[in-house]
């Protein structure tokens, strides 16, 4: 492959990557999450971003922000607090990759300039490349182990691009090691180099050198079997010292990853040579690198850029509340900043509820995706056939306790996102149950239920048992002490039912009429009725149970209607 083609390919990839980045980064100013973000024009957001960044960088807070930056970006303080294993793993991956990139991929631009005698096959470079590669692999193992070790949290749907990219990274690493290993074992590579530096490809002539390389470097010459002649070997080693040693270190100890692989490959070194394996591996390695570069902006690895920005914003917010525009920017950035570490899920207050309901949509890492999707794609929720309600549960049941925010290693203000996201969900047709129930009157719901389903027996442990309400003497005490009846009547069309009437409907077996009533859903759960009932009827507990029934039954009906 010609060097100019390589350079071209590299530049093109780099250009595409830059364009992609620009597009992705501009999304931080384009995406609108939350009702307060809806009317802010692009230029205002850009202005706020620039101003915010400058203000944070050039202010009395600068030392603080810098400190946070160092602690959070470079040392990953929050991840450290979350999981030591994953913190270390992450550190290893990031730094291993970074060093590989600088020292190896950009060797000509960086390493060779700093060290004029740079040669990729000579120590320390050979050794270091193996070290860095191994560091990345060890890091990956640690991160995976870290994930396996903590209580299993349900898998989050991955963006397809992330899968592709993960595969590409694997290809880069694997092909890198394999390439090195094949080259080590490859007689063909030996002859090519011999031709270049010694000017000979004659096996006999090169025998001493070949013996030296077979012994010290593990080149798999098929004709050199058994113990070498010591004199010839010494001669070869001398030759090696003069011609090759300046560029090649013996891999046995330096290439501690690829050398063992090359030993494994040795028996098939010749057939590999036959198909030009090293060349293909090189193409593969480079192609994967370039493709990765192009895709990079569209993968989760955008977080490498987004995280520092997010942490900056976090630093700024800790000094005082952000402006609405600043908050809008911060929300838009969140999806890119997220590294899918799931630390938020671990400490989410409602994680046990998510487990009990079997609904991972409650977990913040899942909710982050849904919140973004709902805000950016008006049709997205509709396409989640049968799951829209479960997704909405995530918003309804979140307590906005902010524990996820505290935990997020990249400083995303998740709790703020949840509040903003609720309004977007409502706009997309999934407000809280107490709100959507109001779309119809109790009578309408009852009719809809009657049309669509046969009357169902209540399944709640209280409402299904006659003893719960059979003692009701319709004395009206519950209604008389109910603050919702007292104050609900002040609205035109006020109360549709009263607690006493709800109890009566239960007695009459007309539960479907009760579950969509304003009374049931407006109930303040103040327990005045239950406390006062002279017959000891658990009026409030029944109200809450009717809501549960209503949520299920009316929710089904509503979904069916929405689909039609």
């Amino acid at each position: 492959m010609s060097a100019s083609f390589l350079r071209m390919a590299f530049l093109v990839s780099l250009g595409l990557c830059a364009l992609g980045l620009l597009w992705r980064v501009s999304a931080w100013l384009r995406v609108r999450i939350g009702p307060d973000a809806r009317d802010i024009p692009f230029h205002q957001r850009l202005l706020a971003a620039v101003r915010g960044t400058l203000a944070t960088l050039v202010s009395r807070r600068t030392p603080g922000v810098l400190k946070a930056f160092v602690l959070d970006v470079f040392l990953q303080r929050r991840l450290f607090g979350g999981s030591r294993l994953r913190w270390l793993g992450h550190l290893l991956i990031v730094n291993g990759f970074l060093l590989l990139l600088v020292m190896h991929a950009l060797a000509r631009l960086v390493t060779a300039k700093l060290y004029p005698d740079y040669a990729s096959t000579h120590d320390p470079w050979l050794f270091l490349r193996n070290v860095f590669g191994a560091v990345v692999v060890v890091g990956i193992v640690m991160v995976v182990a870290g994930r396996l070790r903590r209580p299993p949290s349900p898998p989050r749907p991955q963006r397809p691009m992330d899968r592709v990219f993960t595969a590409l990274v694997a290809v880069v690493l694997l092909s890198g090691f394999l390439l090195e290993a094949t080259k080590v074992a490859s007689p063909k590579a030996f002859y090519r180099m011999a031709n270049e530096y010694i000017g000979s490809t004659d096996p006999e002539e090169l025998l001493p050198l070949r013996l030296a390389w077979a012994t010290d470097f593990g080149v798999a010459f098929p004709d050199l079997q058994g113990a070498p002649d010591p004199d010839k070997l010494a001669e070869g080693r001398e030759l090696h010292h003069d011609a090759c040693a300046s560029c090649h270190s013996p891999p046995g100890s330096s290439a501690f990853v690829s050398y063992p692989i090359s030993r494994v490959l040795a028996p098939i070194a010749e057939p590999l040579d036959g198909i030009d394996a090293d060349t293909w591996l090189m193409y593969l390695h480079l192609a994967a690198c370039f493709l990765g570069l192009i895709l990079l902006p569209f993968t989760r690895f955008i977080h490498v850029l987004a995280d520092p920005v997010s942490l900056l914003a976090n630093g700024a917010a800790s000094a005082g509340p952000l402006s609405p525009v600043g908050r809008a920017n911060r929300r838009a950035l969140a999806i890119d900043a997220c590294v899918d570490c799931r630390l938020c899920d671990d400490r989410c207050s409602v994680a046990p509820i998510a487990r009990s309901l079997g609904n991972p949509a409650l977990l913040p890492s899942h909710k982050l995706l849904a919140t973004h999707a709902v805000a950016t794609n008006p049709r997205w929720l509709d396409r989640q056939a049968g799951h829209a309600r479960r997704i909405a549960e995530g918003a309804v049941l979140c307590t906005t306790c902010g524990r996820c925010t505290d935990r997020c290693p990249v400083g995303i203000d998740l709790a703020d996102l949840w509040v903003a996201g609720r309004a977007d969900l409502a706009r997309a047709g999934q407000p809280s149950p107490a709100q959507w129930v109001r779309e119809r009157s109790a009578l309408d719901w009852d009719e809809a239920l009657a049309v669509q389903t046969a009357a169902q027996n209540p399944v709640g442990p209280l409402s299904s048992r006659r003893e719960t309400y059979s003692a009701c003497v319709q004395c009206q005490t519950c209604t008389n002490v109910c603050p919702v009846v007292a104050h609900g009547g002040e609205e035109p069309g006020g109360m549709d039912l009263t607690p006493q009437k709800v109890m009566n409907l239960l007695r009459l077996g007309m539960i479907d009429l009760a579950i969509g009533s304003g009374m049931v859903w407006d109930c303040a759960t103040c327990y005045q009725c239950q406390e006062h009932c002279p017959e000891g009827i658990r009026v409030t507990d029944v109200m809450l149970e009717l809501r549960e029934l209503g949520y299920r039954r009316l929710g089904d009906t509503r979904e069916r209607r929405q689909r039609e």
């Binding site: 209580p151 400490r347 989410c348 207050s349 409602v350 994680a351 046990p352 509820i353 487990r355 009990s356 309901l357 549960e393 309804v396 049941l397 979140c398 307590t399 906005t400 306790c401 902010g402 524990r403 709790a415 809280s432 149950p433 107490a434 709100q435 709640g460 442990p461 603050p483 919702v484 104050h487 609900g488 002040e490 609205e491 859903w521 407006d522 109930c523 303040a524 759960t525 103040c526 327990y527 005045q528 239950q530 406390e531 658990r538 409030t540 809450l544 149970e545 809501r547 549960e548 949520y551």
Partner: protein, 269 residues
Amino acid sequence: MKYALFLGCKIPASVPAYELSTRAVLGRLGVTLVDLPFNCCGYPVRSLDREAFVFAAARNLALAGAAGLDVLTPCKCCFGNLRHAQRFLDEDPALRQRVETALAAERLALPAGVTVEHLLPVLARKVGLAAIAAAVTAPRTGLRVVAHYGCHALRPSDVTRFDHPLAPTIFEDLVRVTGATPVEWPRRLDCCGEPVHDANPSLSDRLTQAKVDDARESGAEVLATACPYCQMRFTEFQAAGSAAPLPVLLYPQLLGQALGLAPRTLGLS
């Protein structure tokens, strides 16, 4: 005296002064608090899925049980809800069985005999009014205080066993011990309006308005609460209005002042 402190979700995020002042006051009165990795008490899911609510609550009880501690919570909704979960577990063996199985998957078990307490009864009955009175160094003499009881601690009384549901005295007793004067007000046992805030904001406003008006009409200078939700409701509602707000104090802030604690340690600026 030692309790596992159950803060719930609202206090750390929205009413941090409640945590500060509770810790300060209990610290001064010799009550030790232990922090455990609790989760949500289950209240938000109470009206959507009873079993999930009971499980969430039970998990907290299990954590306290594993630590061998009773639970103290300053939140009346968490308090009521955890006690409700205990009731449901007691009266529904099948549910109990399912919850136990789910807990076992996390190597947790339903404890026997973990008591869930609210801050006020712990102060009034465990620490004791006399002990508090002895610790008061800066009595709030002359301050006229209405005490807001809060529904979920008081009722249903057979579940919460907080105080007499129609004629409670505990909060007034605790106000009196700070040297302040508890003021009678007809609506002291009524709902603050918070639980319907999402479902029906205008109804919620009317409920809160009635309480605040009543407190004023009764001649109060301060409205005392002992629940983050009530506290938020009264402050946020009044902040949105035009009238000068009636000051709303969390009980441990009031008590902390009487104990001579620095305002900063009580979350008072």
